[in-house]
């Protein structure tokens, strides 16, 4: 996770598991609804499930604010 541009946020997900597009989208929708940030996010899922990634995103944001 890095600061985004004024134009908005970008998200890139790399995963070896197909078919979870809806879950990914809903996670990012929730994340950006909850936090008013512009971030450039890159995710290498490493086999983790979308809910786990959601948790990590919250942790990353918290750490970036410290």
């Amino acid at each position: 996770m890095e600061p985004g541009s004024p134009a908005g946020s970008t998200v890139r997900v790399r995963t070896s598991v197909a078919g979870f597009q809806d879950q990914w989208l809903s996670i990012f929708r929730t994340f950006f609804e909850r936090h008013d940030v512009a971030a450039a996010i890159e995710i290498n899922d490493g086999g983790a499930s979308p809910p786990t990634v959601q948790l990590r995103l919250e942790q990353a944001l918290e750490e970036s604010r410290q």
Partner: protein
């Protein structure tokens, strides 16, 4: 209160934990995005640091460099990028200590060995890591820690054995072949990988400590590991010079191997061994047409070629060898130490005259996969051979390798890969790879068919000599009439090539990493070069 586990931490947390608070400075961090280009093309998700953390910092106020492997990413396996990060960072430290700046290198191992998806690129990287560790040991103690949940195996097990000082925890395991691989290669009756008690009793760090193969055993806690590393560095600063390496304790180890009881499992191989190219070429080049003396798997002979005294070394099948898993020409316990002995003999007897050349004739189908091998510590045996070759090269013995048959994995690391020049017969039956297709399939969870198809998109996983040459692994390919049974004309032309290679090495003392600079590696090892350039660029700005 329960102590905080070191093994359960990530690679980055471990690196932070051994460094003094606030001194952690990471080079090539995840935001540099230097990752494996080989994994995505195989449908695998890469990691932005390729599973390796390089951190400069201070330990007990001494300038240090920590290299920490992430066991949670691809089993901590070593591919091109993370391998180049380790080798490149160690080479950077070497440059500093040679110019008089003391920096303590610390390796936190958590690795199953070579990354099978990057195969021969990992093999080359590991040989460069070995070379850097041995070179560093002359200036500064290299500290290794076996602290993760994966353990430390394969070529990195050899690297651990090469360290000046090795620390292990109760959770750690150390060996050459992991139990799963032995089970796949030989069967569960040889080594049952699911029998956890047996596994830890055989290859666990406590056992290794009892055998004198690691120097310090500590609890799996952050505090215990960090203290052990700190005390080692403090102790090293006070001690004068660097202690003798365990890989050079030849007499003691050879005696241990002779006394090791294997008789209960002994069955003599009834059928004669396959005709060995290693034997044919050894005999032809040394003009020794006598049948090989029985009970000898390491052949050693000195020949005088003009001004050059050349010691030829070849590992050949021995159907009567004490260890059954090393009877088909594998490099096993007796062979690793045997090679080391042959080289140290040459080093000692050439102290006051021109250093003779060493010729490694390579036809090795792999390292010996077996329970007894791991129990005694075959990783140490292979490390002894690696160490001897590097020591000889650094003292000025020109080393040339001639690949005539198979050059596989740990066996090739121990016998051949440390040469300054590598020559190979241009022949389709030559095989250079890191593991049998069946084992690759099991470990990477692919079908054997997928594994063999992979070679087309990832040349580092191919098994032919031309592909290996394209990685910069071979200096010259030699055409001969009959590789199985060399005729007089072929022998003469190969002999001339070897002599020319020796002359080239004498003219310019080279290290094997200059193989990276070969034109053939321009495209195939692009990342290995880029990683080193980036380390150099960031080195000063990350000074602790």
């Amino acid at each position: 209160m329960k102590e905080e586990s070191f093994a359960e931490k990530t690679a980055r947390e471990r690196a932070r934990a051994v460094l003094d608070p606030g001194t952690f400075r990471e080079l090539l961090d995840p935001f540099a995005r230097i990752e494996s280009p080989h994994l995505p093309m195989q449908g695998l998700v890469p990691q932005s640091d390729d599973g390796l953390v390089i951190a400069r910092g201070k330990i007990r106020d001494k300038d240090s460099l920590v290299l920490s492997l992430e066991g949670g990413f691809q089993g901590g396996s070593v591919g091109e990028v993370n391998g180049a990060k380790i080798a490149g960072a160690l080479e950077a430290v070497l440059k500093q200590v040679r110019s008089g700046t003391l920096i303590f290198p610390v390796l936190l191992f958590d690795t199953g060995g070579i990354r099978l998806q990057e195969a021969n690129l990992g093999l080359l990287a590991i040989s460069e890591i070995h070379s850097a560790i041995v070179a560093l040991r002359n200036f500064v103690p290299v500290i290794g820690v076996i602290a993760g949940q994966v353990g430390c195996f394969g070529g990195m097990g050899i690297a651990a054995a090469l360290c000046s000082f090795l620390i292990g925890t109760e959770i750690g395991r150390l060996g050459l072949n992991g139990p799963e691989v032995i089970e796949q290669e030989v069967g569960a009756s040889e080594f049952d990988s699911r029998d956890r008690i047996l596994v830890w009793q055989t290859i666990g760090c406590r056992r290794r400590f009892d055998m004198g193969q690691i120097d310090k055993l500590v609890d799996d806690s952050v505090h215990a590991v960090a203290s052990a590393v700190g005390e080692t560095i403090t102790g090293a600063v006070q001690a004068a010079g660097v202690g003798p390496a365990r890989t050079r304790n030849l007499a003691r180890q050879l005696q241990d191997i002779q006394e090791y009881p294997v008789a209960d499992r002994m069955t003599l191989t009834a059928s004669p061994p396959e005709p060995s190219r290693g034997l044919q070429w050894f005999n032809a080049l040394t003009e020794n047409y006598l049948p090989v003396a029985k009970g000898k798997s390491v052949l050693v002979e000195d020949v005088q070629w003009g001004n050059e005294l050349v010691r030829a070394i070849s590992v050949v099948p021995d159907p009567n060898a004490r260890f059954p898993r090393a009877r088909q020409g594998q490099v096993g316990l007796e062979e690793g130490w045997g090679i080391a002995q042959a080289i140290w003999e040459a080093i000692k007897s050439d102290e006051v005259r021109m250093r003779r050349a060493l010729l490694a004739i390579v036809d090795v189908p792999g390292q010996a996969f077996g329970f007894h091998e791991e129990a005694v510590g075959i990783h140490l045996s292979l490390a002894a051979a690696v160490d001897a070759y590097i020591a000889a090269r650094e003292l000025g013995h020109p080393i040339v390798t001639l690949i005539v048959g198979k050059a596989i994995s740990g066996a090739f690391l121990a016998h051949g890969l440390q040469a300054s020049e590598i020559l190979a017969l241009h022949d389709e039956r030559i095989e250079i790879h890191v593991m049998s297709e069946a084992s690759v399939a099991r470990v990477t969870r692919r079908s054997p068919k997928q594994v063999s198809e992979l070679a087309r998109i990832a040349p580092s996983t191919a098994r032919d000599v031309r592909s290996f040459a394209e990685l910069g692994g071979v200096d010259r390919l030699l055409r001969v009439n009959n590789p199985d049974l060399p005729d007089a004309q072929s022998v003469e032309s190969v002999r001339r090539e070897i002599l020319e290679a020796i002359q080239r090495v004498r003219a310019v003392p080279t290290e094997p990493r200059t193989r990276l600079d070969l034109h053939s590696a321009d495209v195939t090892r692009k990342m290995s070069r880029r990683v080193r350039q980036e380390i150099e660029k960031q080195w000063e700005e990350k000074r602790p």
